[in-house]
């Protein structure tokens, strides 16, 4: 089959899988890392101790999990931001907006990999 023009199907598949993953994981992470400790809840403050987190982040499984969540969330979010820009009637052509959006998602993913494994 000849799919005219584009790889939209590929980006949309990342958008939808990323949508599910970020829906499941992001709120609890926001709560555990910012809201819980910010409200002064001891359990969360305790969980954020340096030794605990550095041990946790030393675990390859945790790293892999974080990487997948971050990468997919970024592809999800930048696909939405691309359409948000179109919906706001920002007077720019669609092609560069799409390209720039996905480029930012790719850059973010690469940065995440560097941060998780090289730093």
């Amino acid at each position: 089959m000849n799919i005219k023009g584009s790889h939209e199907a590929f980006w949309w598949s990342l958008f939808s899988v990323g949508g599910v993953v970020s829906a499941m994981v992001v709120p609890v992470l926001v709560f555990a890392t910012i809201v819980g400790p910010g409200l002064g809840w001891d359990v969360f403050a305790d969980a954020m101790r340096y030794d605990r987190l550095s041990r946790l982040l030393g675990n390859q499984l945790v790293k892999m999990g974080l990487f997948v969540v971050i990468a997919l969330s970024l592809f999800h979010a930048f696909h939405r931001i691309r359409h948000l820009i179109t919906d706001l009637h920002v007077p720019v052509p669609g092609m560069p907006v799409a390209a720039l959006s996905y480029l930012l998602a790719i850059v973010g993913t690469v940065v995440a990999a560097i941060v998780l494994w090289l730093m």
Partner: protein
């Protein structure tokens, strides 16, 4: 009459900005854990500041809105047929929310002492 729904979709799209913002915070957190304990404590104090708490609460609300809208819209894109009848939306979205709860539980289990 049509405005409220357009507005809801707009909010749905804006949730993406908060997802990106949180990813930046999360990556900064990972970076600071990779550094020495003192710099990490400084970052922790920053995270606990009132401004960041406000950001956290807003981000939490937006990302929860994303969770609820995304999971409840999944059945619309999936036509599952059983015995010549379409499986009702709740039969698909329901387990979606169960998985959501399970994921939250697992993350807390891993994260909390």
């Amino acid at each position: 009459m049509r405005r409220p729904r357009y507005c809801m979709v707009f909010v749905r799209e804006v949730t993406a900005i908060f997802v990106v913002a949180y990813v930046i915070v999360l990556l900064s957190l990972v970076v600071s854990v990779g550094g020495d304990p003192e710099s990490y404590e400084a970052f922790r104090d920053f995270l606990a500041s009132p401004g960041m708490l406000v950001f956290g609460v807003i981000t939490l609300l937006f990302t929860l809105f994303h969770s609820v809208t995304f999971i409840s819209l999944i059945p619309r894109g999936m036509a599952v047929w059983r015995n010549g009848k379409r499986v009702p939306a709740s039969t698909i979205a329901g387990p979606g929310f169960v998985v959501f709860a399970a994921v939250v539980a697992v993350v807390l289990l891993v994260l909390l002492p």
